[in-house]
Symmetry: C2
Subunit: 336 residues, 2 copies
């Protein structure tokens, strides 16, 4: 953990302690103050010294937001569908947060599509908060900070949080572990169903969205999905994922999609599945934080580069990686 | 770790200890015995009790194989390019191993494309060994066992090991961390360059392969790649990734590709970069094993479900996830 930068943060001064300032910031974010909210999200994203007191203060305020994950291969129109859902929920008077996890380079660490582009439609609407999260390497396609940013939006009173992520491989599984409801987006002509199945993306879907439904090949895509859904083993009381066709660019099909989302939400509540998913989410979240902390200790033991030294011996064939890992763990456990 | 199953393994009996049998198996695998080799790979994939003695025995035999990673979005023809490279290296009399990491469902755990399909062309050739590795959830797109399987093939005397993985998101980074040389495959008309950049796939490439070069749009794709390469910051002595166009199905361009691979191999050796990459690989490998072991301890402390209990309190808003992670780590460190 870094030392707190003196005077960093909200730029206020005075004799009130950090606790007071944190609670004040949370209160303002809950009241719709977009700058206070943005500051909280940045704080959890940067993981500075205030992260822990903020998380403590947020905990009792969490648990209300409905969390919808959107995933799919590049080019299926995730951002457009996200935008259409934002509009639909705003029309109902709900506050909507969006966390867009851009799988940008692990080398650059930056987000290619800035928030500005995405914000344009909702720039003046305090009922909408949109944030691009950089995905930062090792902890998978989802940014390690995404679960914490979700907690901030939840505690700040957002009714719905949409989490958009490119999903081919791991990210779709992670988004499913964060979300109450996972939308898997496909588009006609994006490669045959075997390729889709190869990417493992289909099994996390609560709802399938065939977007760009104005393109040729929609019927084939829907038929392929139907076949795959029919083949999947599920119990009598399990949720059967529906297929919704949309042309998000024009808004076509978006009403149907929100109806399906409502139905899935009602199902989650009726059978206790929402609670089960949220406990599972907490489980993953705690384990990820603990692992990140342990990884930090593995890579940065005070005063030496134990891992680098072990790696040199493994690369030279003098040591096998399991014995090296044992030595590394022994080092952690004797250090603090 | 599991207890060793009595009599499991190679089905032999006798008074010789497990050490002797392991060394015998390794010796036979080095001599070209495909069954002995397959048994060793299965052993590291299943992670049974013999894993550690096997890894110890293999360590001094490793470090010779050249490791080439192939990655790209679904549909670019990775398997076809892999097959073409296998043939090209066989024509030179080299032994070639292939590890195909299928990003199958984390739920089913199985591999959709069996080894049988891929093996057809080389079924009777003991100079080729092909194995599909299931990717198993949490440790990212690459199977956790892939680095260990690579060690087996390396120790067994394979000159070249090709690691094929679907890469959009995390997997391409992981394949780059395993490989000496990483090929990033694209195909014409697979979405515009912004989408490709979004997926973060381009920055790990040592060589770009534009496959399916008989399709329309090759020139545009090559031009887009050139622009991106030109924009990338690199030092005077850094490797500048070339672009090779191939039609792997017909073999067109494969000679050029192997020449580029040779050139990259020579560069790696000339500047010490191969050693640097291999130390980095060992570093990642050790850390991953250590983390997997720590994760096991996090999730499965003897006699209780500490993580589940903490998750329940976090989900209910009674505890924040950081405090929960601290408690979890404290539990690990007092347990063994």
């Amino acid at each position: 953990m870094e030392a707190p930068a003196p005077g960093a943060g909200d730029g206020r001064s005075g004799s009130d302690g950090p606790g007071t300032r944190i609670e004040d910031g949370i209160e303002r974010a809950r009241g719709g103050d977009a700058r206070a909210l943005a500051r909280l999200v940045s704080l959890v994203e940067n993981g500075n010294a205030q992260l822990r007191p903020v998380m403590k203060a947020l905990a009792p305020l969490t648990g209300r937001a409905r969390v919808v994950g959107l995933t799919g291969a590049p080019g299926v129109g995730k951002s457009t569908v996200t935008g259409a859902l934002v509009r639909a929920y705003r029309d109902r008077g709900l506050r909507v947060g969006v966390l867009a996890v851009d799988p940008t380079s692990p080398f650059s660490g930056g987000a290619l599509l800035g928030d500005r582009v995405r914000m344009q439609d909702h720039a003046t609407d305090t009922g909408v908060f949109i944030r691009s999260m950089a995905s930062r390497g090792h902890l998978g396609g989802l940014s390690a900070a995404t679960p914490q940013a979700l907690r901030v939006l939840d505690a700040a009173g957002f009714d719905v949080v949409l989490i958009e992520t490119v999903g081919v491989g791991q990210a779709e599984v992670e988004v499913a572990s964060l979300a109450d409801t996972t939308l898997v987006l496909v588009a006609p002509g994006m490669g045959d169903s075997i390729q889709a199945a190869k990417a493992g993306i289909l099994e996390v879907a609560d709802i399938y969205v065939v977007n760009k439904a104005d393109r040729p090949g929609v019927q084939e895509t829907v038929r392929d999905l139907r076949t795959m859904i029919a083949m999947a083993q599920r119990g009598e009381n399990d949720w059967k994922p529906p297929i919704v066709t949309t042309t998000a660019m024009t808004g076509e099909g978006v009403d149907e999609l929100t109806r399906r989302l409502d139905a899935h939400g009602a199902w989650l509540d009726s059978c206790g599945e929402r609670d089960r998913r949220r406990r599972e989410r907490a489980r993953e979240e705690i384990a990820a934080i603990a692992l990140a902390e342990l990884r930090r200790r593995l890579g940065a033991l005070p005063g030496d580069d134990r891992l680098g030294e072990l790696a040199g011996r493994v690369a030279a064939g003098q040591l096998d990686p399991y014995t090296a890992a044992d030595e590394l763990i022994a080092g952690i456990r004797s250090a603090s």
